[in-house]
Symmetry: C2
Protein backbone atom coordinates (compact mmCIF):
# COMPACT_ATOMS: atom_id res chain seq x y z
CA UNK A 1 0.00 0.00 0.00
CA UNK A 2 1.43 3.30 -1.04
CA UNK A 3 1.29 6.50 0.96
CA UNK A 4 -0.09 9.11 -1.37
CA UNK A 5 -0.75 11.61 1.39
CA UNK A 6 2.09 13.00 3.50
CA UNK A 7 -0.39 13.42 6.36
CA UNK A 8 -0.12 9.69 7.01
CA UNK A 9 3.54 10.08 7.85
CA UNK A 10 3.96 13.32 9.72
CA UNK A 11 3.03 14.23 13.26
CA UNK A 12 1.52 17.54 14.28
CA UNK A 13 4.00 19.62 16.22
CA UNK A 14 3.68 21.77 19.30
CA UNK A 15 3.90 24.82 17.06
CA UNK A 16 0.85 23.66 15.08
CA UNK A 17 -1.18 23.39 18.26
CA UNK A 18 0.09 26.74 19.56
CA UNK A 19 -0.99 28.34 16.29
CA UNK A 20 -4.47 26.85 16.66
CA UNK A 21 -4.70 28.02 20.28
CA UNK A 22 -3.04 31.39 19.71
CA UNK A 23 -0.76 30.92 22.70
CA UNK A 24 2.75 29.82 23.66
CA UNK A 25 2.82 26.62 25.66
CA UNK A 26 4.91 26.12 28.78
CA UNK A 27 4.91 24.39 32.13
CA UNK A 28 4.53 26.54 35.24
CA UNK A 29 5.55 24.50 38.25
CA UNK A 30 4.22 25.87 41.55
CA UNK A 31 6.16 24.47 44.50
CA UNK A 32 5.64 24.98 48.21
CA UNK A 33 4.47 23.41 51.45
CA UNK A 34 1.07 21.83 51.92
CA UNK A 35 -1.20 24.70 52.92
CA UNK A 36 1.01 27.39 51.37
CA UNK A 37 -1.80 28.31 48.99
CA UNK A 38 -0.41 26.84 45.74
CA UNK A 39 -3.60 25.25 44.51
CA UNK A 40 -5.78 28.15 45.59
CA UNK A 41 -3.57 30.48 43.58
CA UNK A 42 -3.41 28.18 40.55
CA UNK A 43 -7.18 27.71 40.50
CA UNK A 44 -7.67 31.46 40.44
CA UNK A 45 -4.94 31.84 37.81
CA UNK A 46 -6.63 29.27 35.59
CA UNK A 47 -9.90 31.23 35.75
CA UNK A 48 -8.15 34.47 34.84
CA UNK A 49 -6.32 32.89 31.91
CA UNK A 50 -9.51 31.19 30.72
CA UNK A 51 -11.29 34.56 30.74
CA UNK A 52 -8.51 35.86 28.48
CA UNK A 53 -8.95 32.95 26.05
CA UNK A 54 -5.98 30.79 27.06
CA UNK A 55 -6.20 27.02 27.27
CA UNK A 56 -4.62 25.69 30.44
CA UNK A 57 -4.45 22.41 32.32
CA UNK A 58 -4.01 22.21 36.05
CA UNK A 59 -2.19 19.19 37.44
CA UNK A 60 -2.16 18.76 41.20
CA UNK A 61 -2.31 16.18 43.94
CA UNK A 62 -6.06 15.96 43.59
CA UNK A 63 -6.22 14.86 39.98
CA UNK A 64 -2.89 12.99 39.89
CA UNK A 65 -2.96 11.09 43.18
CA UNK A 66 -6.52 9.88 42.54
CA UNK A 67 -5.69 8.86 38.97
CA UNK A 68 -2.38 8.12 37.30
CA UNK A 69 -0.54 8.07 40.64
CA UNK A 70 -3.13 6.16 42.67
CA UNK A 71 -0.73 3.23 43.06
CA UNK A 72 1.95 5.37 44.72
CA UNK A 73 2.50 6.03 48.40
CA UNK A 74 4.69 8.55 50.18
CA UNK A 75 8.01 6.70 50.45
CA UNK A 76 10.95 8.55 48.95
CA UNK A 77 10.90 6.26 45.93
CA UNK A 78 7.19 6.77 45.38
CA UNK A 79 7.43 10.54 45.78
CA UNK A 80 10.12 10.60 43.10
CA UNK A 81 7.95 8.49 40.80
CA UNK A 82 5.03 10.82 41.57
CA UNK A 83 7.01 13.81 40.33
CA UNK A 84 8.44 11.88 37.37
CA UNK A 85 4.98 10.94 36.12
CA UNK A 86 3.64 14.43 36.76
CA UNK A 87 6.50 15.82 34.67
CA UNK A 88 5.84 13.41 31.83
CA UNK A 89 2.13 14.26 31.83
CA UNK A 90 2.96 17.97 31.91
CA UNK A 91 5.25 17.45 28.92
CA UNK A 92 2.48 15.71 26.97
CA UNK A 93 0.18 18.66 27.60
CA UNK A 94 2.85 21.19 26.70
CA UNK A 95 3.65 19.30 23.50
CA UNK A 96 -0.05 19.61 22.78
CA UNK A 97 0.18 23.40 23.00
CA UNK A 98 -1.45 23.67 26.42
CA UNK A 99 -0.28 26.02 29.20
CA UNK A 100 0.28 23.57 32.02
CA UNK A 101 -0.02 24.61 35.65
CA UNK A 102 1.43 22.12 38.12
CA UNK A 103 0.78 22.52 41.80
CA UNK A 104 2.95 20.03 43.66
CA UNK A 105 5.00 20.32 46.87
CA UNK A 106 8.18 19.10 45.08
CA UNK A 107 10.26 19.31 48.25
CA UNK A 108 13.76 18.55 46.95
CA UNK A 109 16.26 20.06 44.53
CA UNK A 110 16.61 16.61 42.98
CA UNK A 111 12.90 16.33 42.22
CA UNK A 112 12.80 19.83 40.73
CA UNK A 113 15.84 19.12 38.56
CA UNK A 114 14.21 15.96 37.29
CA UNK A 115 11.03 17.82 36.39
CA UNK A 116 13.06 20.49 34.61
CA UNK A 117 15.07 17.90 32.68
CA UNK A 118 12.01 15.91 31.58
CA UNK A 119 10.05 18.97 30.51
CA UNK A 120 13.03 20.74 28.97
CA UNK A 121 14.78 23.63 30.77
CA UNK A 122 13.45 26.29 28.39
CA UNK A 123 9.83 25.30 29.05
CA UNK A 124 10.03 24.72 32.80
CA UNK A 125 9.10 27.76 34.87
CA UNK A 126 9.36 27.48 38.63
CA UNK A 127 7.16 29.54 40.93
CA UNK A 128 7.78 29.29 44.67
CA UNK A 129 4.68 29.74 46.79
CA UNK A 130 6.35 30.59 50.06
CA UNK A 131 4.78 30.53 53.50
CA UNK A 132 6.29 29.66 56.91
CA UNK A 133 5.41 26.16 58.03
CA UNK A 134 3.88 27.51 61.27
CA UNK A 135 1.27 29.42 59.27
CA UNK A 136 0.61 26.48 56.94
CA UNK A 137 0.06 24.36 60.03
CA UNK A 138 -2.33 26.93 61.54
CA UNK A 139 -4.37 27.00 58.31
CA UNK A 140 -4.30 23.17 57.99
CA UNK A 141 -7.20 23.25 55.51
CA UNK A 142 -7.08 19.51 54.89
CA UNK A 143 -6.26 18.50 58.47
CA UNK A 144 -3.03 16.90 57.29
CA UNK A 145 -0.67 18.67 59.69
CA UNK A 146 -2.74 17.46 62.65
CA UNK A 147 -2.50 13.90 61.34
CA UNK A 148 1.24 14.26 60.76
CA UNK A 149 1.74 15.55 64.33
CA UNK A 150 -0.14 12.50 65.64
CA UNK A 151 2.10 10.30 63.52
CA UNK A 152 -0.81 9.13 61.37
CA UNK A 153 0.99 10.39 58.25
CA UNK A 154 4.69 9.66 57.90
CA UNK A 155 7.21 11.66 55.85
CA UNK A 156 5.04 14.76 55.85
CA UNK A 157 6.92 17.68 54.33
CA UNK A 158 7.62 20.39 56.90
CA UNK A 159 7.03 18.05 59.86
CA UNK A 160 9.15 14.92 59.52
CA UNK A 161 10.42 15.35 55.97
CA UNK A 162 12.46 18.31 54.70
CA UNK A 163 11.49 21.06 52.28
CA UNK A 164 14.59 22.40 50.58
CA UNK A 165 14.40 26.13 49.83
CA UNK A 166 14.48 26.54 46.03
CA UNK A 167 17.70 28.03 44.73
CA UNK A 168 16.48 29.97 41.71
CA UNK A 169 12.72 30.20 41.26
CA UNK A 170 11.57 32.58 38.52
CA UNK A 171 8.98 34.06 40.84
CA UNK A 172 8.36 34.00 44.60
CA UNK A 173 4.91 34.57 46.06
CA UNK A 174 4.62 35.08 49.81
CA UNK A 175 1.10 34.14 50.76
CA UNK A 176 1.59 35.01 54.42
CA UNK A 177 2.41 38.62 53.58
CA UNK A 178 -0.18 39.58 50.99
CA UNK A 179 -3.85 38.97 50.13
CA UNK A 180 -4.66 36.31 47.52
CA UNK A 181 -5.74 38.96 45.03
CA UNK A 182 -2.29 40.61 45.16
CA UNK A 183 -0.53 37.28 44.65
CA UNK A 184 -2.79 36.56 41.70
CA UNK A 185 -1.98 39.87 40.03
CA UNK A 186 1.74 39.21 40.46
CA UNK A 187 1.50 35.80 38.84
CA UNK A 188 -0.57 37.20 35.98
CA UNK A 189 1.93 39.97 35.34
CA UNK A 190 4.70 37.37 35.26
CA UNK A 191 2.98 34.74 33.15
CA UNK A 192 1.20 36.74 30.46
CA UNK A 193 4.31 37.87 28.54
CA UNK A 194 5.56 34.25 28.46
CA UNK A 195 2.39 32.69 27.06
CA UNK A 196 1.47 35.48 24.69
CA UNK A 197 1.70 34.37 21.10
CA UNK A 198 3.36 37.10 19.11
CA UNK A 199 2.64 37.50 15.44
CA UNK A 200 4.94 35.58 13.09
CA UNK A 201 6.20 33.51 15.99
CA UNK B 1 -7.41 35.32 55.12
CA UNK B 2 -10.82 35.66 53.57
CA UNK B 3 -11.78 34.51 50.10
CA UNK B 4 -13.42 37.46 48.45
CA UNK B 5 -13.28 35.93 45.00
CA UNK B 6 -15.09 32.69 44.21
CA UNK B 7 -12.45 31.96 41.55
CA UNK B 8 -10.10 30.89 44.32
CA UNK B 9 -12.43 28.05 45.24
CA UNK B 10 -13.85 26.66 42.03
CA UNK B 11 -12.24 24.53 39.38
CA UNK B 12 -12.79 24.99 35.66
CA UNK B 13 -14.87 22.17 34.26
CA UNK B 14 -14.63 20.15 31.06
CA UNK B 15 -17.58 22.13 29.73
CA UNK B 16 -15.69 25.41 30.20
CA UNK B 17 -12.79 24.08 28.14
CA UNK B 18 -15.11 22.66 25.47
CA UNK B 19 -16.76 26.05 25.20
CA UNK B 20 -13.38 27.70 24.69
CA UNK B 21 -12.36 25.12 22.09
CA UNK B 22 -15.75 24.92 20.39
CA UNK B 23 -15.71 21.13 20.43
CA UNK B 24 -16.98 18.14 22.40
CA UNK B 25 -14.22 16.18 24.09
CA UNK B 26 -13.99 12.40 24.02
CA UNK B 27 -11.50 9.56 23.94
CA UNK B 28 -11.20 7.57 20.73
CA UNK B 29 -9.36 4.36 21.45
CA UNK B 30 -7.87 2.69 18.37
CA UNK B 31 -7.06 -0.95 19.02
CA UNK B 32 -5.41 -3.52 16.78
CA UNK B 33 -2.29 -5.54 16.10
CA UNK B 34 1.15 -4.01 15.67
CA UNK B 35 1.36 -3.14 11.99
CA UNK B 36 -2.41 -2.96 11.51
CA UNK B 37 -2.13 0.70 10.60
CA UNK B 38 -3.56 2.27 13.78
CA UNK B 39 -1.00 5.01 14.19
CA UNK B 40 -0.82 5.80 10.48
CA UNK B 41 -4.57 6.29 10.48
CA UNK B 42 -4.59 8.34 13.68
CA UNK B 43 -1.80 10.61 12.44
CA UNK B 44 -3.79 11.36 9.30
CA UNK B 45 -6.96 11.83 11.32
CA UNK B 46 -5.23 14.32 13.58
CA UNK B 47 -4.17 16.38 10.57
CA UNK B 48 -7.69 16.39 9.16
CA UNK B 49 -9.21 17.42 12.48
CA UNK B 50 -6.57 20.11 12.96
CA UNK B 51 -7.41 21.54 9.52
CA UNK B 52 -11.03 21.78 10.67
CA UNK B 53 -10.00 23.65 13.84
CA UNK B 54 -10.27 20.84 16.38
CA UNK B 55 -7.74 20.39 19.18
CA UNK B 56 -6.63 16.81 19.53
CA UNK B 57 -3.96 14.85 21.38
CA UNK B 58 -2.53 11.62 20.09
CA UNK B 59 -1.30 9.11 22.66
CA UNK B 60 0.54 6.07 21.37
CA UNK B 61 3.40 3.74 22.15
CA UNK B 62 5.88 6.27 20.85
CA UNK B 63 5.08 9.09 23.23
CA UNK B 64 3.96 6.96 26.19
CA UNK B 65 6.57 4.19 26.21
CA UNK B 66 9.41 6.73 25.92
CA UNK B 67 7.93 8.93 28.63
CA UNK B 68 5.46 8.16 31.37
CA UNK B 69 5.68 4.41 30.76
CA UNK B 70 9.45 4.17 30.28
CA UNK B 71 9.77 2.10 33.45
CA UNK B 72 7.40 -0.60 32.18
CA UNK B 73 8.23 -3.78 30.28
CA UNK B 74 6.00 -6.24 28.46
CA UNK B 75 5.01 -8.64 31.23
CA UNK B 76 1.27 -9.05 31.71
CA UNK B 77 1.39 -6.88 34.83
CA UNK B 78 3.33 -4.14 33.05
CA UNK B 79 1.06 -4.21 30.01
CA UNK B 80 -1.93 -3.71 32.29
CA UNK B 81 -0.19 -0.81 34.02
CA UNK B 82 0.69 0.60 30.58
CA UNK B 83 -2.99 0.69 29.62
CA UNK B 84 -4.04 1.97 33.05
CA UNK B 85 -1.68 4.95 32.84
CA UNK B 86 -2.64 5.63 29.23
CA UNK B 87 -6.30 5.68 30.28
CA UNK B 88 -5.60 8.07 33.14
CA UNK B 89 -3.63 10.40 30.86
CA UNK B 90 -6.40 10.24 28.26
CA UNK B 91 -8.90 11.16 30.96
CA UNK B 92 -6.85 14.18 31.99
CA UNK B 93 -6.82 15.40 28.39
CA UNK B 94 -10.52 14.76 27.94
CA UNK B 95 -11.29 16.60 31.18
CA UNK B 96 -9.32 19.45 29.63
CA UNK B 97 -11.67 19.54 26.65
CA UNK B 98 -9.26 17.85 24.24
CA UNK B 99 -10.27 15.20 21.69
CA UNK B 100 -7.95 12.37 22.63
CA UNK B 101 -6.81 9.79 20.09
CA UNK B 102 -5.21 6.71 21.62
CA UNK B 103 -3.43 4.22 19.42
CA UNK B 104 -2.58 1.17 21.50
CA UNK B 105 -2.75 -2.57 20.78
CA UNK B 106 -4.90 -3.19 23.89
CA UNK B 107 -5.07 -6.93 23.23
CA UNK B 108 -7.52 -8.10 25.91
CA UNK B 109 -11.14 -7.53 26.85
CA UNK B 110 -9.96 -6.89 30.40
CA UNK B 111 -7.64 -4.07 29.35
CA UNK B 112 -10.34 -2.46 27.18
CA UNK B 113 -12.88 -2.68 30.02
CA UNK B 114 -10.41 -1.03 32.36
CA UNK B 115 -9.80 1.82 29.90
CA UNK B 116 -13.54 2.27 29.44
CA UNK B 117 -14.14 2.30 33.18
CA UNK B 118 -11.37 4.81 33.93
CA UNK B 119 -12.37 7.16 31.12
CA UNK B 120 -16.09 6.76 31.70
CA UNK B 121 -18.24 4.59 29.40
CA UNK B 122 -19.98 7.55 27.76
CA UNK B 123 -16.67 9.11 26.69
CA UNK B 124 -14.83 5.96 25.58
CA UNK B 125 -15.17 5.23 21.87
CA UNK B 126 -13.55 2.06 20.58
CA UNK B 127 -12.33 1.80 16.99
CA UNK B 128 -10.99 -1.56 15.85
CA UNK B 129 -8.28 -1.31 13.23
CA UNK B 130 -8.48 -4.82 11.85
CA UNK B 131 -5.91 -6.58 9.73
CA UNK B 132 -4.93 -10.28 9.57
CA UNK B 133 -1.74 -11.01 11.46
CA UNK B 134 -0.15 -12.50 8.32
CA UNK B 135 -0.43 -9.15 6.56
CA UNK B 136 0.79 -7.20 9.60
CA UNK B 137 3.77 -9.54 9.69
CA UNK B 138 4.47 -9.03 5.99
CA UNK B 139 4.42 -5.25 6.46
CA UNK B 140 6.55 -5.43 9.64
CA UNK B 141 7.36 -1.72 9.41
CA UNK B 142 9.29 -1.69 12.69
CA UNK B 143 10.90 -5.12 12.26
CA UNK B 144 9.19 -6.30 15.45
CA UNK B 145 7.58 -9.43 14.01
CA UNK B 146 10.97 -10.65 12.78
CA UNK B 147 12.39 -10.14 16.27
CA UNK B 148 9.41 -11.90 17.85
CA UNK B 149 9.83 -14.88 15.50
CA UNK B 150 13.49 -15.12 16.51
CA UNK B 151 12.43 -15.02 20.16
CA UNK B 152 14.16 -11.69 20.76
CA UNK B 153 10.86 -10.18 21.91
CA UNK B 154 8.66 -12.22 24.24
CA UNK B 155 4.88 -11.91 24.65
CA UNK B 156 4.45 -10.26 21.27
CA UNK B 157 0.76 -9.90 20.43
CA UNK B 158 -0.23 -12.07 17.48
CA UNK B 159 2.85 -14.29 17.77
CA UNK B 160 3.18 -15.62 21.31
CA UNK B 161 0.54 -13.54 23.07
CA UNK B 162 -3.17 -13.46 22.18
CA UNK B 163 -5.21 -10.67 20.63
CA UNK B 164 -8.84 -11.06 21.64
CA UNK B 165 -11.29 -9.95 18.95
CA UNK B 166 -13.22 -6.97 20.32
CA UNK B 167 -16.84 -7.72 21.10
CA UNK B 168 -18.50 -4.38 20.37
CA UNK B 169 -16.30 -1.73 18.75
CA UNK B 170 -18.16 1.37 17.57
CA UNK B 171 -16.32 1.25 14.26
CA UNK B 172 -14.26 -1.35 12.41
CA UNK B 173 -11.65 -0.36 9.84
CA UNK B 174 -10.17 -3.11 7.67
CA UNK B 175 -6.83 -1.83 6.49
CA UNK B 176 -6.11 -4.93 4.41
CA UNK B 177 -9.20 -4.37 2.27
CA UNK B 178 -9.16 -0.66 1.54
CA UNK B 179 -6.71 2.18 0.82
CA UNK B 180 -5.69 4.45 3.69
CA UNK B 181 -7.65 7.34 2.22
CA UNK B 182 -10.89 5.34 2.34
CA UNK B 183 -10.27 4.32 5.96
CA UNK B 184 -9.58 7.94 6.83
CA UNK B 185 -12.86 9.14 5.30
CA UNK B 186 -14.77 6.47 7.24
CA UNK B 187 -13.23 7.54 10.54
CA UNK B 188 -13.92 11.19 9.78
CA UNK B 189 -17.56 10.49 8.96
CA UNK B 190 -17.86 8.61 12.23
CA UNK B 191 -16.02 11.04 14.49
CA UNK B 192 -17.20 14.44 13.31
CA UNK B 193 -20.80 14.19 14.61
CA UNK B 194 -19.48 13.12 18.02
CA UNK B 195 -17.02 15.98 18.51
CA UNK B 196 -19.10 18.71 16.94
CA UNK B 197 -20.12 21.29 19.49
CA UNK B 198 -23.75 22.15 18.90
CA UNK B 199 -25.10 25.51 19.90
CA UNK B 200 -26.51 25.73 23.43
CA UNK B 201 -24.87 22.46 24.34
Amino acid sequence: MENIHPIFDTILKKEDKEQRLKQKAGVFWFIGLSGSGKSTLVRALEHELHKRGYLTKMLDGDNLRTGINNNLGFSEEDRTENIRRASEVAKLFMDGGVITLCSLITPSHTARSMAKMIIGPEFYHEVYVSCPVEICEQRDVKGLYAKARKGEIKNFTGIDAPFEEPSAPELVIQTDLEPEEVSLQKVLKYILPIIEKKQNQ
